[in-house]
Structure formats: structure tokens, C-alpha cells
Symmetry: C2
Subunit: 384 residues, 2 copies
């Protein structure tokens, strides 16, 4: 297999982009990545999107979006793994370059979520859970993650305040990200007093409904010198699934798919959790970041809550997490999130992250999750 590097990234400001269509936002971010790389064509394209069918009434978007990008006739592949669709698109683009099938591959992610009603969006998102065993009983994602939060709080004495501190930290980071949907700080009091969604999670514990896209350009590492930008090497890639239904899990306080996808990525990279300088992880709810930070091996089981309280996951902390603002502040257009993590990693590793810049950014990790942990994709990138 060939070594692979990222040589361009792009994303627009995320939010409620009512004046733009699914096609518009994908092409906008893809062209930013193309310009960033300084290329004039791509050989192949992957697009991660959870549900263009239910959100936008359009399937077959590998073809639609290659066409609208002005690259008709190239292979255009849409992949879906719920909210991990973007991470999975990146993994397949990596595999296509690594295999030698193509040289210049675009990995994009997109979701246009605000063109349907709130209840239709909630239904569409619920189809990432087990509709036969969870959705049919009315369980939606805030409820599923609330059950995980209750289990974690019960076993490890994780506090309500520690959950809130995840949101506070990520909004503090996101306030420096001009592309974030909600680029402003919040306080622990605001989170705890915000409207209840599913006990113990309030609205400020939840990532928002967002329109947005993000993209990255991958090439063989030995071709990097031909392009505009310094390359960032993909040194590890891991993907795993777990039971989609929470009821079939042995343990609600850990995420098996996250553990396994991380183990596979660490092994490929020859790295350990303590080798990682900073990370972007899937904080779809505040409890998710706490559990993920444990399942990735950054902290022992039950250590995620105290770690955020101690500031260890702050931009200035031991292992900075979600310096982009995370899903919480930056927004969560589900199919695009995994690619936005790659955008942040790449900018940090180039030293281009401005006020969000972390001190040590040689090795970064991105973790992107589907549903309530039914799937997870982990990538480890290193400065070349």
C-alpha cells in the first residue's frame, strides 16, 4: 500500500443555509479544497452523506455532485454510515489512493438538514438508530444518549457540571472559529438552566441541526512536493461497528466501536494514545465526548468527566480536544462532520489555525461516530 497525504481542505461557514442547496454547499466546500491544493482536476470522488433521501429528496448524489462540481464522468461514490459518513468517505478515499487505483481523490461530506420540518429532521436522524427496536418505541438520539449519561453518572459519579463543562469548553474554542454555527461562549449555568431535552441532557448539551459541507484532497505521499501545500500524512485508519441497538450492548458506559476503531488506527500508525498531540472527537452530546475520550484511551474509564473539569482537554491542556468547537459549537451537518474534523486537523498541523492553534500539533486524531456508537471511524494524521 502507498502512503497517502492530505494536500488541501475546505469548508464554508456552517449554519442554517437556506439560500443554498445541497449541491451548492457541497460544491462550495469542494472548490475551497481544490483551490487550497492548487489542483485542476480530481481522478475520483467520495461523498459522505447520511440521508440525502429523507432530508433533501435526492439519492444518487455521487453522480449529482460529480456533475455539479464540473467533474462528470469521474467515479463518484456516496457512502453512508449515519453521522460517521464523512469519516468513512475519507477512509475510502485513503484506501483508493493507498491501493494505487487513483492518484488525486476528493473526500467530501455534506448534509442539508434545514429544508425539512423539525419533526421530519428528528425522524430522519432517528433512522441512524435501530428503528425496529428503538425508533418504534419513540426513542430518538437525545433519549439514547441520555440513557448512556445516566449509566455513566451512576457508575463513575460523573457530574451534571462535568457534562456542562464539555459544552463550555467547546463553545470557548468555537468562539475563535469563524466557520462555526454558534461561535460564542456559554457558561455552566447557562447549560444547566437551558431547556430540558432528555434528562439529564439539556438543549445546550446537544449538537445542533446544521447545513454544511467539508472536503479534503488526498494524494500519494510521494507526490506531495508537486502541489501547493505541505502534506499531512495519514498514518492510521480504523473502522468498526457495534450493535446498533443499545439494548444489545454489554456496557452502556463505554463505546466498543470507538475502542476497536481506535485500536486498529493506533496499530496501523504504530502509536499509542499518549502519542497523540490533539484530537477532534464526536461530541454529538456532551456525554459522548466524555465516553469517547475514555474509549480512545486518553483517560481511564470514568476519567473523562474529571479530565474536562481539570482542563486537561482544553486547548492549553494535556490533550486538547475539539479546538474547532466540535459538533457542539461548530455545528453537525451529519454527513460532513467527519471531513470537518480532517479540515481542523490539517489546519492545526500546518500551523494555520490562528487563535485556535494548539502548541503541539505534530500528531492529530479524528474520531467520527454513527448513531449511538453503532459505527466509528478513527484517523491519525502526522506532519510530514
Amino acid at each position: 500500500m502507498r502512503d497517502v497525504a492530505v494536500i488541501g481542505v475546505g469548508m464554508q461557514k456552517w449554519g442554517e443555509l437556506w439560500a443554498k442547496s445541497l449541491r451548492d454547499i457541497f460544491v462550495e466546500s469542494a472548490l475551497l479544497a481544490v483551490d487550497d491544493a492548487g489542483i485542476d482536476h480530481i481522478d475520483s470522488m467520495y461523498v459522505g452523506c447520511m440521508s440525502s433521501g429523507l432530508f433533501s429528496g435526492q439519492e444518487h448524489i455521487g453522480s449529482v455532485l460529480a456533475d455539479y462540481l464540473g467533474q462528470k464522468n469521474i467515479p463518484g461514490t456516496r457512502v453512508e454510515s449515519a453521522c460517521a459518513s464523512g469519516g468513512l468517505a475519507f477512509r475510502l478515499a485513503w484506501m483508493e489512493v493507498a491501493s494505487g487505483v487513483s492518484d488525486i481523490v476528493l473526500a467530501g461530506g455534506v448534509e442539508k438538514m434545514t429544508d425539512v420540518s423539525g419533526s421530519d429532521a428528528t425522524y430522519a436522524l432517528a433512522t441512524a438508530a435501530d428503528m425496529d427496536w428503538e425508533g418504534i418505541h419513540g426513542a430518538t438520539f437525545p433519549g439514547l444518549y441520555a440513557m448512556m449519561a445516566v449509566a455513566h453518572m451512576n457508575r463513575y459519579k460523573t457530574t451534571r457540571e462535568q457534562l456542562a463543562m464539555v459544552a463550555v469548553k467547546n463553545h470557548k474554542h468555537g468562539a475563535h472559529n469563524s466557520r462555526a454555527q454558534f461561535p460564542f461562549p456559554v457558561t455552566v449555568e447557562q447549560v444547566i438552566n437551558s431547556v430540558k431535552v432528555a434528562d439529564p441532557l439539556n438543549i445546550l448539551d446537544c449538537s445542533p441541526i446544521t447545513d454544511g459541507a467539508a472536503a479534503a484532497i488526498l494524494v500519494p505521499a510521494d507526490m506531495v512536493s508537486k502541489f501547493n501545500k505541505p502534506g499531512v500524512k495519514v498514518i492510521g485508519s480504523g473502522h468498526a461497528t457495534d450493535t446498533i441497538s443499545l439494548s444489545q450492548r454489554e456496557d452502556l458506559t463505554a463505546l466498543k466501536a470507538v475502542e476497536l476503531s481506535a485500536k486498529r488506527a493506533y496499530e496501523m500508525a504504530g502509536k499509542k494514545p499518549e502519542d497523540i498531540d490533539f484530537a477532534e472527537v464526536h461530541d454529538c452530546f456532551t456525554i459522548a465526548e466524555i465516553i469517547v475520550s475514555e474509549s480512545l484511551g486518553f483517560f481511564e474509564a470514568g476519567g473523562g468527566g474529571p479530565a474536562v473539569e481539570a482542563g486537561e482537554t482544553d486547548r492549553e491542556g494535556k490533550i486538547p480536544i475539539n479546538c474547532s468547537g466540535g459538533l457542539k459549537s461548530k455545528g453537525h451537518p451529519v454527513g460532513a462532520t467527519g471531513l470537518a474534523q480532517i479540515v481542523e486537523l490539517t489546519e492545526q498541523m500546518r500551523g494555520d489555525a490562528g487563535e485556535r492553534q494548539v502548541d503541539n500539533s505534530r500528531i492529530g486524531l479524528a474520531q467520527n461516530m454513527g448513531g449511538s456508537g453503532g459505527s466509528s471511524v478513527v484517523h491519525i494524521l502526522e506532519v510530514m
Copy 2:
């Protein structure tokens, strides 16, 4: 890149499978393939499915189906390219084995289409066309292919009878396929007198709405001797897109994505159209098989109609096409069709096709198409 071979295939009888769910039919076909190969695990899985969201109210099926197959924790990837989703799943499984990332990979395809009303199914299928430029005007697939038929008949004098002969041939073949949805012969008169759908296409020119799944197991070619069955080698793989909207095409009488995907597969295989012994092609409508047989290079432009009339695409003809019965007789569960083509190729190349067996089956070609030709995937397989 490593050479890759198919060592197991499976599919159930297709039809209106109201007693079985999406999960049931996928697992059923996957286990048939697993048994056929004689393996006890898989390393990774791809599933092609066009719209589990709109047809079945369930996304994230890479996770759902890995779990229900008893293989939770493996990577499970869902890919979508409308009716070419199955062919694309096979291509990605090939790429994963070829790259060295995994050794034993299952490629599956599935669609459960009869759990929604006919109008909802028509809507779901229409999302494979350009909903902004075609669907919004009420154009659905019979109408789009009818326009292609009119253009082809006008330019090349293709006759109404020649269209009907495609259906007659494929039903004649499918009458020998116990897994076909409609395993019975039809006559030219029956086709021409069947109810009009979109002039000149009648109901017997159209592939049906079907529930079904199909699967194949891929391994490195040098591992084949460790397994139950003779291997069938993947010697060519090609994928291409085209404008999704017919209005943007230069020519309605040829399919650019088919031409390009075939060119790429022929080049990889080092083969020409005349080297192909038999083929399974995407006859979603009778006109589709005629145009595809030209775009694959089996006949010159305009030669597809006369060729079917002369019996050249019969099982006993010069280039047997759709000996399985094709989409027309076998059924067309859109995400599964591309894998069912691989099932037929493999059985033919093993000499296991019974009454459907062709005389020369050393080199077979499968062509799977999305929408009205917005995407196409071609594979060429050869006896090892």
C-alpha cells in the same frame, strides 16, 4: 495491488417477500454466500442499497446488517449509487482486498421495495434522477427511458418489436432461473399489447418492483486454494458517472457512463469487447439493454436492435446477454441487482448454471447502471 477472486455467492428467490424484512433478506443471501465459500467469518463488509431510508425507514445499515449477520464489530460500509449500488459495493470490496487492507470481504446488495405504496416507491426511485430538473416536472424513470427509446428509434430505426424481443429473450432465459421473480416466458404480442406506461414502453418493457438481496465473498486470488470453491478472478473494474439529468447530455442514444466504465474495465483487464464470452447487463427497461449492448462495444451504434432480433444475444447466440433473466424477469431490487449479476457470472463460470448454462463462459462481464445512466459500474471476471 493484489489479484482478487470471488469464492462464494448467494441469493434467495426474489419477489414480493412480505414475510421478510430488509435485515432478513440481506442476512439470508449473505449466509448463502458464506456457506458457498465455506468460511466462518468475514473481515469486512460492503452493502449496496439505494434507499433504505425512503423504502424502509432505516439508515446506518452497514452497522445494522453487520450486527444481524452475527459479525458486529467488523467494518460495515453502505454505498449508494442508485440502481448501481450493488456493483459499486462489489467494486469497493474488490478495492479493499486488492489494497491489502482486508483478506475476506463480503459484498452484498439489498433492497426491500414492497413495504411502501406504489406511489411512494415511484417517488423513492425518482430520487435516482435529477430531482431539481427532472423529478420536479413529474418525470419518473419510465418517462426518461421512453425519451431515450424515442430518440434511438428515430435515429437508428430501432423497432417496437425489437424492444419487445429484449423482454421475450430475458423472460425465456429467466424461465430457467428458479430464483427469478417472474420465471415464465412472454411473447412479442404480449409485450406489445401490455398496458402502456410511457410511450413507447409498456409494462412488459419495464423491470419490476422487487424485494431481494445477493452477496459475494472476495479474497486474494492466491488464497483461493484454501477455500471450498474454485475461484473466479476479477480482472477488470471500471466506474464512471455522467450528467444525472438527460437534458445535459450531448446524445440520448448512447450512455457515456457505460462507455467509460467499460473502457476502464477493458483496459485494466487487457481485453476487448470481442473477448467477452457472455454478459449480464442492466436491462431496467428493454431500451436500456439495447443501448447498453452498443455502449459496451458488443455492437456498433444502432446495432443493438437488429442484434436482438437476429438472436445474437440469446443464450445460444454470439454474445449471450442476461442468461439469468436479467432485471426484466429475475426482478430488480435496485441495490441488489449488481451483486446478482456477479452471482450469475460466478455460477456460469463454474459451469453450475444448469439449464441456463452458456457454452463458452471463461470471461464474463457485468454492467450495472444508476438512474438513467448517471453512473455505471463494469466488472470483468475470468475463470482462474
